[in-house]
């Protein structure tokens, strides 16, 4: 049964050819920066600073990586990043699905107001809140704590609205019939809506994890205790902020790009594999016992 569903019809050949051509185009275009960054990171110090686009390192070397290895103590910041990102993401997904689920209730009185409440949070430019955000966190004793890094960004309007949308895609008849069977709202939320939204939850989770992993602004705002720095902040500090105008040291592009690669690789792997969770379709019928 399942196998039969995965198989599907195909488009006519000419359309398929156009599609393939377009996809190759996209792959080349999008792969370019990664290739450039990789090539530079594996170049020699001198070669990595050669002006122009490098797409292949010659000769190849791991100099850039050894430089970072010798200059950055990875263990603590790496652990900090993982801890903060994972705990923060789990909470984020939980909160986003709660709020998204509420907003997806068609008959809920005040639904529009609540939606506006969420939408407005996204329209506020950071420049307007940057001082206030620091003040709030300080008053709540969240500066220089992991909790601060976890709680800030625990929810975002973006994720709420996406979850709202995915929940709205679930046929309402499922919930209705469950209600008739006497199921409570929480039960419906848990066993129908969440269960049918695994792919959406995975997506929101992946996107949030990546966002948190790369987040520098919030870490910089909250953390000045160097023991609690996260990986991207450490790398940026060592490699990009340290070259002062009248400085005496110089950091080569191969080390800088190696840092970019090291920060990105875990995310690329994560992104690739989470997709297997939702690359097959959902069968709504299967939920009806």
């Amino acid at each position: 049964m399942a196998k039969q569903l995965v198989k599907r019809d195909r488009l006519p050949l000419p359309v398929r050819i156009i599609n393939t051509a377009l996809l190759i185009f996209v792959v080349v275009l999008m792969g370019l920066p990664m290739l450039n960054v990789l090539a530079v990171s594996f170049s020699t110090q001198a070669k990595s600073d050669t002006p122009g686009l490098v797409l292949w390192p010659s000769p190849a070397t791991v100099q850039g990586y050894t430089f970072i290895w010798n200059h950055v103590r990875f263990a603590v910041p790496f652990f900090n990043t993982i801890y903060v990102s994972i705990v923060g993401t789990v909470l984020h997904v939980l909160m986003a699905s709660l709020a998204g689920y509420v907003l997806s209730q068609p008959q809920l009185p005040g639904r529009k107001t609540l939606t506006t409440f969420i939408l407005l949070t996204m329209t506020i430019p950071y420049e307007l809140t940057m001082i206030g955000i620091y003040a709030v966190n300080r008053d709540l004793h969240l500066t220089n704590t992991y909790a601060g890094l976890i709680i800030n960004g625990m929810i975002s309007g973006f994720s709420v609205l996406l979850m709202r949308n995915y929940f709205m895609g679930i046929p309402r008849s499922l919930a209705e019939s469950a209600r008739i069977d006497g199921a409570g709202e929480i039960r419906i939320f848990r066993s129908i809506s969440l269960r049918l939204s695994i792919s959406a939850l995975m997506t929101i989770g992946t996107l949030e994890l990546i966002r948190r992993w790369n987040n520098i602004t919030m870490t910089v705002t909250l953390i000045s205790d160097m023991k609690k720095w996260t990986l991207p902040v450490v790398l940026r500090y060592i490699l990009f902020d340290q070259t002062t105008t009248s400085g005496t040291s110089y950091i080569f592009a191969n080390a800088k790009m190696a840092a970019v690669v090291l920060t990105a690789v875990p995310l690329v792997v994560l992104y690739f594999f989470t997709q297997s969770f939702f690359s097959t379709g959902i069968m709504i019928g299967s939920i009806k016992e």
Binding site: R8, L128, T203
Partner: protein, 294 residues
Amino acid sequence: MNTTRQRRLKKFRVFYLMFLPVAAYFIIFTYYPFLKGLIMSFQENRLLGVRPFCGLENYRFVIKEPNFLASVKNSLIIGLWDMGLYFGFSLVLALILNEVANRMVKQSIQTIAYLPYLFSWAVIGGVWALIFDLQGLANKFLSLFSVEPIFFLATPSLARPLIIAMGVWRSMGYFALLFTVAIMTIDQQLFEAARIDGAGRFTQITHIIIPSLTGTMKTIVVLLSIGVLTHFDEIYVMVNPANRRMIGTLLLYVYETGILNFKTGTASAGATLVMIGTVAITGLIRKFTGYDEE
């Protein structure tokens, strides 16, 4: 009347409770700091100590700025094009990707399409500048057709298209993913039924997939509309003296005039104006797309 209302509220009480933690978060970590910023926009530029109120002075200062109108125009042009193109390109990419039968190939392409989003704008801007340099890849490609080298980065008429293209290039894979997920949640039985009716793949796309995406499309348009006036990072990394007139946006002004000079009032007033504009644009889009309807 009152009792039905009470009964209704009681019925929905659980939902309000579910919303409570979210509301609490936003009030503490978003609305409260926002209020502080808003108040600052009515106060004198002063970083330290007590800030005396000065009425609408900061707003007057921002609006009277000689380049204010030009930066509004730049913001709108870049923002609206970005909104339209992010939407169109990512939708098409998602639809095409969906037709790839091999799972590994599909996953790989999707990952690669997402790659630009993993890098900071500084890295992206660097690569982009190399490609569009006078001796860059783009000009090498054009020289195959014996086109004279174009000074892409310093040609004012190309400044906006370049910035817009850069945004599309970076964000396309991201939004395509959101569409892909929505496509994946379509009930497979619908396709089964269509096949029995003898519908080809093309009909399945136009009659099943696209209608099923309506909700997602609305959501994404609304989300994109929020970003119309807030493009900053890509401008910041690409701006140069030759293209400044074409791509200087409102937030660039807020940053350079306000933040860099510690002018708390100017920065807050500028940012508030950006917010008012955003609320207006998003409100229109929300109404126009029927976002709150089913």
